[in-house]
């Protein structure tokens, strides 16, 4: 299998063709923050937190590492003033929904993000889609899905399926970066009952 050699933060790295930057970085022990990535799931590219700088033949661009395929001889930088600023804004935007989620608080500390920068909209779900995708891709149950679009997008259980499958599974609960999922399920349960 052809090996691709390139550089992340000054460290020489090898990866397999078709692998994503994020996977290659993680294999090399280099940390890139992410909220919507899961090793068992297809890359999603939703939270955009794993954004990095890539230099290809002298050209620099910003790419999202969880979906960007590795390329020969590129130079990757996982931190820069600009990247940090973008990550900070993303974290702040998400904290308007889930100001007390431990994962977000940890990231906020690292990037100097303020939980109160934007007007609150405490819906708690940050639409990372881990529950939806885990249920579809790993469990093949499709008990939960997205509804609507844009700023009205939400997660929603399918009551008929949820009432049969979820009680014995609940594998998606620990994946949720906020505590919203559990609340949504309890609500669905009460609606079925």
């Amino acid at each position: 299998m052809s090996e691709i050699k390139f550089e992340i933060d000054g460290i020489k790295v090898k990866a397999k063709k078709g692998e994503t930057l994020l996977d290659a970085a993680q294999d090399a022990g280099i940390f890139i923050p992410t909220l919507c990535h899961h090793e068992k799931l297809e890359p999603f590219g939703g939270c955009r937190l794993c954004i990095v700088e890539v230099e290809v033949k002298g050209w620099t661009k910003l790419v999202v590492s969880c979906v960007y395929p590795v390329e020969k001889d590129i130079i990757v930088r996982t931190r820069s003033e600009k990247i940090d600023r973008i990550r900070k804004t993303i974290i702040e935007l998400l904290m308007a929904h889930a100001p007390d989620a431990p994962e977000l608080k940890k990231l906020a500390k690292e990037y100097g993000a303020s939980r109160d920068r934007y007007e609150k909209d405490p819906s708690f779900c940050i639409h990372c889609g881990l529950c939806v995708r885990y249920c579809a891709e790993v469990k093949k149950a499709n008990a939960i899905g997205f509804v609507d679009r844009g700023i009205n997008k939400e997660i929603c259980f399918v009551p008929e399926i949820a009432s049969q499958m979820c009680n014995d599974c609940k594998e998606c609960f620990p994946l949720c970066p906020t505590s919203y999922l559990q609340a949504a399920f309890v609500l669905t349960e009460s609606l079925i009952a």
Binding site: G45, G46, C47, R48, L49, I51, L62, V63, V64, V67, Y68, P69, K82, R85, I86, T89, I90, L93, L94, A96, H97, R117, Y118, E119, D121, I126, H127, F146, D148, R149, G150, I151, N152, K153
Partner: protein, 644 residues
């Protein structure tokens, strides 16, 4: 008519159609486009058909409902050939006279002609009208000549001759070569060179490839594609077949928004007709080339104009874009190499193949070749579709063709490029339209929306309007677009409602950077443009809203109050009668006063106050004058007119 088996049979058949048509016979073309139908074109067509029959002229006179010629402001439009006499704002009642005088006696009816609003001069021919004079209509020109439901009409005007030429004399690679030579850039938004896109797909290894028409025209205030789809569907279809031939695809798709039912019907009919003649299907014109076309309807999602979202939708999924690190011309629909171009791009292809790529480059600027159709709307005298050579200045489009701003108002800005575009101020009206020129000015070409704004338009509100549009149309998958727009909309709304705070502009700029840099697709990456471009040119308006709680355009409802100028009020009672909130106090010869506590700012009084008085005014950012004391409210002297 049997199927046409060779390019020669096609041209023979064209001759046959032409030989049956007497060019001297009158033909009445009535625009049956959406704008004219809304103004009553259907009734006019019906009346013509009845009258022609009544007068026993059916054999001699042809009546057709055609595509949109673009001059929507003056609809319904009727053009009578061969003299090309153009009547505007025709009503069903006018039909009897038109048939009696113009058709039978060749007399022009003066009152139905278009009169130039400035010179007052009457124009007999369509091409004499100032609106058309400065245009260069290579794509739109056939719209008014063709019954959009008739393939024979299209064939009579050299339709499918490019296909005949390509299949008879050219290889696919040669067709591609002409398209590359023409330098045509995609008319849908980003302006990517079509030839390069096609070449990538042609060279891709996968043997299964697709060509797709993006007919999901979603920009609010833009209807160029609609006019072509409804008016001249065969031109787009011919372009698509040529595209399939050039890149080696045997399947093509139309993705048409369901909000355009007539376009869907006409395209389906066009496909059926082309299949019947053997211009589509197996072994087209005996060349061995097979091609089939499938029509899919969009279900109402602006984001599906984005290529990867459109392809997801074609596959029967929600229209969420996917990352484009591998271009869709290499990995597109069902992971196969796919060429997606917009309606107008496809409609240009038969012209390029017929006349050669070089011909196309004769018009335009260095980097933008050919003509472009714009939908010129908003605060403009001549609303409509205009097709101009690339490189024409905005000033010429707005004043020469558009006839300037109505009501003696002052021009403020022109918004181009749809929700992802920007506003261009008066100081830049000498800008030549072209892809790179508009981008440099902070806006973009987009699909060709051109919305003219006058002094009554608030630029903060315009930004808020587009951002609001995008919050609802974003797919919601990625954080910078979904959450960034949510917060931007909230902040902009606060500003227009007088709740803006110091630091709001900086906050908006921070979100904009993240949304531009980190969003997943082009919709998100360009979403902050309406804010960024209005801030760039109209920062003072933002500051007036935030610091002084004043809307300089007197447009933001929460920042204005209505006031009746006691010096001008003649106590006519119009506003008193129409006020839905009972907020006006007045009486006979008693100067009217608005009770600010009851007023809902609906603006009805402002609208109904007779122009000759103009007593109702809007005030923003300054205190409302105290109401007149009761004893001073009676109008003692007679009104000036009666004095004489």
């Amino acid at each position: 008519m049997a199927r046409l088996n060779t390019p020669e049979e096609l041209s023979d058949f064209r001759q046959e159609i032409l030989s049956k048509r007497d060019p001297d016979n009158p033909c009445i073309s009535v625009c049956a486009g959406a704008g004219c139908v809304a103004s009553g074109a259907d009734e006019v067509i019906k009346a013509f058909k009845e009258e022609i029959e009544k007068q026993d002229l059916t054999a001699k006179v042809d009546t057709k409902g055609t595509g949109c010629p673009g001059f929507c402001e003056q609809g319904p439009i009727v053009v009578i050939y061969p003299e090309e006499i153009c009547y505007v704002q025709v009503k069903a009642e006018d039909v009897e006279q038109i048939v009696a005088e113009t058709i039978k006696e060749n007399k022009v009816i003066d009152r139905l002609l278009f009169a130039d609003p400035i010179t007052g001069e009457k124009a007999v021919k369509e091409s004499d009208i100032t609106f058309y004079k400065s245009q260069e209509r290579t794509v739109l020109c056939n719209n008014i000549k063709i019954d959009s439901k008739s393939i024979d009409d299209y064939l009579a005007l050299e339709g499918y001759s490019a296909l005949g030429k390509a299949l008879g004399e050219m290889t696919g690679a040669e067709v591609l070569e002409e398209v590359k030579k023409s330098n045509i850039r995609g008319r849908g938004g980003a302006g990517f060179p079509a030839g390069r896109k096609w070449e990538g797909t042609r060279n891709a290894k996968d043997p299964v490839k697709y060509v797709i028409v993006n007919a999901d025209e979603g920009d609010p205030g833009a209807f160029m594609d609609r006019a072509l789809l409804e008016g001249n569907p065969h031109s787009i279809l011919e372009g698509l077949i040529l595209g399939g031939y050039a890149i080696g695809a045997s399947e093509g798709y139309f993705y048409v928004r369901q909000e355009y039912p007539l376009a869907v019907d006409n395209i389906n009919l066009a496909i059926e007709q082309a299949e019947h003649y053997g211009l589509l299907g197996e072994n087209i014109l005996g060349s061995g080339f097979n091609f089939k076309v499938i029509v899919h309807q969009g279900a109402g999602a602006f984001v599906c104009g984005e290529s990867t979202a459109l392809m997801a939708s074609l596959e029967g999924r929600v229209g969420e874009p996917r990352p484009k690190y591998i271009r869709s011309n290499i990995k597109g629909l069902w992971q196969k190499p796919s060429v997606l171009n917009n309606v107008e791009t496809w409609a240009n292809i038969p012209l390029i193949v017929n006349n050669g790529g070089e011909w196309f480059t004769k018009v335009g600027t260095e980097t933008s070749k050919g003509t472009k159709i714009f939908s010129l709307v908003g605060k403009i005298n001549n609303t409509g579709l205009v097709e101009v050579p690339m490189g024409m200045t905005l000033h010429d489009i707005i004043y020469k063709i558009g006839g300037g701003i109505p009501g003696g108002k002052k021009f403020k800005a022109v918004q181009t490029g749809g929700p992802s575009g920007g506003c261009i101020p008066e100081g830049q009206l000498d800008l030549q339209v072209g892809f790179d020129e508009l981008t440099k000015a902070g806006s973009m070409m987009g699909s060709g929306g051109m919305i003219v704004l006058d002094e009554d338009t608030c630029m903060v509100d315009v930004a808020r309007y587009f951002i609001n549009f995008l919050t609802e149309e974003s797919c919601g998958k990625c954080v910078p677009c979904r959450e960034g727009l949510r917060q931007m909309h909230r902040i902009l709304t606060n500003i227009t409602k007088g709740r803006g705070r110091e630091g709001d502009i900086e906050l908006l700029e921070d979100i904009s950077e993240t949304t531009v840099e980190a969003s997943l697709c082009a919709l998100g990456k360009s979403a902050p443009n309406p804010f960024l471009s209005t801030l760039r040119y109209f920062r003072d308006e933002y500051e007036a809203h935030i610091k002084e709680k004043r809307c300089p355009a007197l447009a933001c409802k929460e920042l204005i109050v209505f006031h009746i100028d006691p010096a001008k009020c003649q106590a006519c009672g119009m506003c008193l009668k129409k006020c839905p909130a009972d907020a006006i106090d007045g009486g006979k010869k008693k100067i009217h006063i608005i009770d600010q506590d009851k007023c809902t700012n609906c603006g009805t009084c402002f609208e109904v106050c007779p122009d000759k008085f103009g007593a109702v005014t809007k005030i923003s950012g300054e205190p409302v004058p105290d109401p007149l004391p009761e004893e001073k409210r009676m109008i003692a002297k007679k009104s000036p007119k009666k004095k004489k």
